[in-house]
């Protein structure tokens, strides 16, 4: 199954400029695509357009096409989109319903909206909590969780709709290192154990280094670079696009500049130090 953007151009209602300019992008089941770029480059817009929320919920004008498994997102209603493509934003608490007394009920919110049978709802909640390793949080109050925990609950709530595609817009941006590690580990596990295709926008390129198969660089609404993760994140032009290379790459350049050992040796050193 493939999510495809073809010459997708998007302008928000009332905006003076296009936020996305003729973007071609493709992501298939089982793969992870990283998206990097400076702020205000259109990465969040890309997320909204890819998920279909723009223009279906967030007003604006879309030209070109965005298809999920061949079907145009503009032909689908929000609840149909939600079951094909889930989206997670930066601010965990803002995405939670605010009306659930326990994490269990929060995750059940989506499946209940679809009118599934109660046993099916329960099954999905337990499966999603388990898949992210947060089953022990099931009886907790969602409003009282740490940032990282809340983000995982929000993620579980989205996975409960069983989307084939998952879009993550800077999921760890507002988290401390512990929260980042929690979410990063859960995502790695999710990738290992399911075939959900994932598109993840991140500033923390170290995270993408370990998660993504391919990376695209978005700048001024356009895709300016695309390729396998190691190639793109190792590209010397990356800082020029406002993107910080991962620590691994920076340290490797530092070592190379000091003439220290071969590329293979530094690779081994980096692998040793990788957590």
């Amino acid at each position: 199954m493939t999510l495809r953007l073809s010459a997708a151009t998007y302008r928000y209602a009332g905006a003076r400029r296009d936020a996305l300019d003729s973007v071609d992008l493709e992501i298939s089941t089982g793969s992870v695509l990283g998206v990097v770029g400076p702020n205000e480059a259109g990465k969040s817009t890309l997320c909204l357009v890819a998920s279909g929320l723009a223009p279906v919920v967030v007003s604006g004008r879309l030209s070109g096409s965005v298809t999920i498994d061949g079907r145009e997102t503009t032909d689908m209603r929000p609840h149909e989109l939600a079951q094909r493509c889930g989206i997670l934003f930066q601010d965990a608490q803002a995405q939670l319903s605010g009306t659930a007394s326990t994490v269990f009920e929060e995750v059940a919110f989506g499946p209940r909206n679809l009118g599934l049978s109660l046993p099916a709802v329960i099954e999905r909640v337990e499966a999603c909590l388990g898949a992210l390793g947060i089953a022990s949080l099931a009886d907790r109050d969602p409003a009282r969780l740490s940032g990282g925990q809340a983000q995982l609950v929000a993620l579980a709530a989205i996975l409960a709709l069983r989307p084939d595609f998952l879009i993550l817009d800077e999921p760890t941006s507002q988290l401390d290192p512990q929260g980042t590690r929690l979410v990063g580990d859960a995502l790695r596990r999710l990738v290992r154990e399911s075939r959900t295709a994932i598109l993840v926008v991140e500033h923390k390129t170290a995270l993408l280094d370990r998660l993504a198969d391919r990376v695209v660089v978005v700048d001024e609404g356009r895709i300016v670079r695309e390729g396998p993760t190691a190639d793109v994140l190792g590209d010397a032009a990356l800082p020029g696009h406002g993107v910080e290379p991962p620590p691994r790459v920076r340290v490797q350049s530092a070592l190379a500049a000091a003439g220290l050992g071969t590329a293979a040796e530094t690779d081994r050193l980096m692998a040793e130090l990788a957590t």
């Binding site: 770029g37 400076p38 702020n39 205000e40 969040s44 930066q90 740490s146 940032g147 800077e170 941006s173 507002q174 401390d176 290192p177 512990q178 500033h203 800082p239 406002g242 993107v243 910080e244 620590p247 691994r248 920076r250 340290v251 530092a254 070592l255 500049a257 000091a258 003439g259 220290l260 050193l269 040793e272 130090l273 957590t275």
Partner: protein
Amino acid sequence: MIAVEIRGVAYSYPGGVRALDRVDLAIGPGEALAIIGQNGSGKSTLVRHLNGLLRPDEGQVLLDGSAVGRRHVAELARLVGLAFQDPDRQIFAGSVRREVAFGPRNLGLRGAELDGRVAEALEEVGLAGSAGENPYDLGYSRRKLLSIASVLAMRTPVVVLDEPTTGQDLRGVARVRAIVAARTAEGRTVITVSHDMRFVAETFGRVVVMRAGRIVLDGTPAEVFAEVNWPALADAYLEPPLAARVGARLRVGSTPTEASLVHALAARA
């Protein structure tokens, strides 16, 4: 310009949580200090004692040698400017310009002097071109820079930045670093609360590590991130920057930044 001293400060939140446990910290005029630690270690609580938002249960806070005492927060705001972690907690004006003018206006500035301050601050954070825009039309990272600008415009001798680099891209982080450098060049004291290890190691000359309401490490980045302190860091749920780990592995000493790593390697060669 002014020294900041925290003497034996203890503080517990109304619920009973002991957030600060007799903390002693002396910060010289013009120092650039980073306070790091996990959430709940007391770092945000500590900086709120500097401008009187919180008053210690025990101990004292001294600014420029005199105790903060019961002076109003508004008065202390002349000495200590605090940019909060969440910009949306303070942004209220309909335009970027008026938002930045709020602080200096409260301090009594008017007319051309006020306009000049506002323009300067906006220039420094890169928002000069958006002066007339509604703050909520800016993205999160630029709203964050806006909140920093609104504090810079107050020209306080002490500037406190709470998590200034969250959500920033490369250029944003570079801007924050430049802001810190410019302030210390002017002789102002800059204190940051941050969990961005790289930003801290590369920008600040002194790092203080907090854990459970106490200071557990205090020194230069090279000292704090040296291998001998890694157990203490791990205990505080922190990780040294990768450059430090590489330097230790290659036995070239404590190299908290990539620049120092390169330097140490070159020196060895």
